[in-house]
Symmetry: none
Subunit: 197 residues, 4 copies
């Protein structure tokens, strides 16, 4: 691959094709799982197979790009909610929306899982953006008393990945999410009990 002369902007049609490939990959991997073939992606994108490999020199790099894009999009949504009026609603609403997306897209679940683990790869590099935004949402919700104080962003990410999987693969619905949410809310009674005791 000839790298573009440094400083020169990439050509418009190339950018367009890159985006088309990425979008097609996102859809194909969402529907068929990440073992879908690169040819399928090319077909869906309406480009030649060579074009896919020009933009993403290995299948792994394509997959990575898809996951990164998903994570960044989620991080963007989270950031927007950081200034919402009701911090509790913002936090739980975001959580719900991510889970709902995962139900349709397997890739989202994988992205969440990898973002939690992988500090190395590109996925890991994009993870912090989401974790940071989620951390802010969490902190605000905690300050407002909507979420218990003794959980951190890491636990929330783990719970999110699990619920996403449950929604997408195990056919679980709001009932399950409700349990998780209750687990995240501050405990009322025990404190009274503790006060009494």
């Amino acid at each position: 691959m000839t790298s573009p002369a440094p400083g020169r902007p990439p050509r418009a049609d190339a950018l367009r094709n890159r985006a088309k490939v990425l979008a097609a990959a996102e859809e194909v991997f969402a529907v068929q799982g990440t073992s879908a073939s690169t040819e399928e992606v090319a077909r869906k994108a309406g480009v030649g197979i060579g074009t896919v490999f020009r933009h993403f020199p290995t299948k792994e790099s394509l997959l990575e790009a898809v996951l990164v894009a998903l994570l960044e999009r989620l991080a963007g949504e989270a950031e927007e909610l950081c200034s919402a009026a009701d911090p509790g609603e913002a936090f739980f609403g975001f959580f719900s929306r991510v889970v709902a997306q995962s139900a349709a897209k397997q890739a989202v679940t994988e992205a969440l899982a990898e973002a939690g683990i992988d500090a190395r790869g590109a996925t890991g590099r994009a993870g912090p953006g989401l974790k940071a935004a989620l951390g802010t949402l969490l902190a605000r919700a905690q300050k407002a008393g909507a979420v218990r104080a003794d959980v951190g962003p890491a636990e929330v990410m783990g719970l999110l990945a699990g619920m996403a999987y449950a929604a997408g693969r195990a056919g679980a619905r709001e009932d399950v999410l409700r349990i998780a949410f209750d687990g995240l809310r501050p405990r009322t009674r025990p404190q009274q009990a503790a006060a009494r005791g």
Copy 2:
């Protein structure tokens, strides 16, 4: 499942081979994931590839058999706990143990997920055994006031699958499980009842 000639009982060595293959498959899929090759399974089992396909005519059927075996084993464990002294401990202990297994074996997670969804396939047919036993564990724990009354076996299965995934892929630990458990515990009444009583 291999159907022997009708009326003829399967030969002893054939049964032994079937068991060897199943055990090998369980281990191989646990370690390498379900995309491991059938040859690998045959090698680990110490049999020819042809023998694997004689007992399990497609790779999918082999995978299914592995999942069914896992589910049946879990169901067995659950049934044993149905007569345990402390129903709450029995329920949460079982839940924890399943999640711990999943952390080591991807296949367990898949089994749980499929068991929740698939009412059709063989996995779905084995699911009810687990779901029934889990239902008993759940009912006893609810009656003892250790688990909130408004959740059913289906929700617990979903939560279990999600937590199993979180444990195996997203690197989540007891922290996350604690949140889920708190979500499962009664919110108000039990403590009041305890306080009153």
Copy 3:
């Protein structure tokens, strides 16, 4: 690939196919050069592509096997000539025959070249067989006064590779070989003859 149970002889049909593949590869590489495709070899051998890769798991290993087979055959011919009546004729005759083969088969030239260099790979392992036999032929010819005393097997191998290449690629014929042979002959006799004359 499942390795055969140690001690069990390979199946007859497998051996037959292995030989067919090797023969086809030899011919294909001879005609089209070593960059010919593995599919072409399979087609010529009349087997599926999978069969080629079962016997030779990489293209490189196939190529290596071809070269080794060629070297071993040449070594065999050389060994037979070690007991020939006229050591000079044996040596030069062998040299000529190798060169003649190379004219038709590029692969022979490559085999000779690699045998000279590579002490590592399988080709290098087969090289010594040829070099040893050639060494014997050479020593006998030197003792008989047909070849000058101050050259060793390594130089002869080098000369052989060069002449093989010249014959196969540069269109050189006996004229060139005659020069090389004159270079190999002892320097004294002709002069004595000339002195006498």
Copy 4:
């Protein structure tokens, strides 16, 4: 060779690019062999891949141009030596130098081989230049008694190609070249001369 619009002289920058590509190709093919990619050549030349194909419409034509350039350079060296003081030294020195170059550059060997065979292609058309100059060197050396009288330029070209190959691929060194040189020297006179001296 790029044909400009008839009557229009090629632009200066185009000529410059052509030269850059040719130089890059020579180096790339020397180091990586002739199977190096055209992209690699473009990168080394610092031009776009399209520019390479504008000047050399196929990879084969680029390769040919490289070989022709090499042959012409060798022919130039040979011509310069045609007026050297010692014809024997000129001839053998040239031979040695060509072989030494080949040890580093595969392409030289190929050029020599093709020059010997191909009367058709561009390589064949450049060959005569070298062959003529070599013929002159040879004739002078023969007249001076340094080379036997019964060999012609064709044989010398063949020997040269073979020795070039031996040097580059078979790891042969001066020992082998010495044999070839001895084969080229007159059989009787020089030694008598030496005996006399």
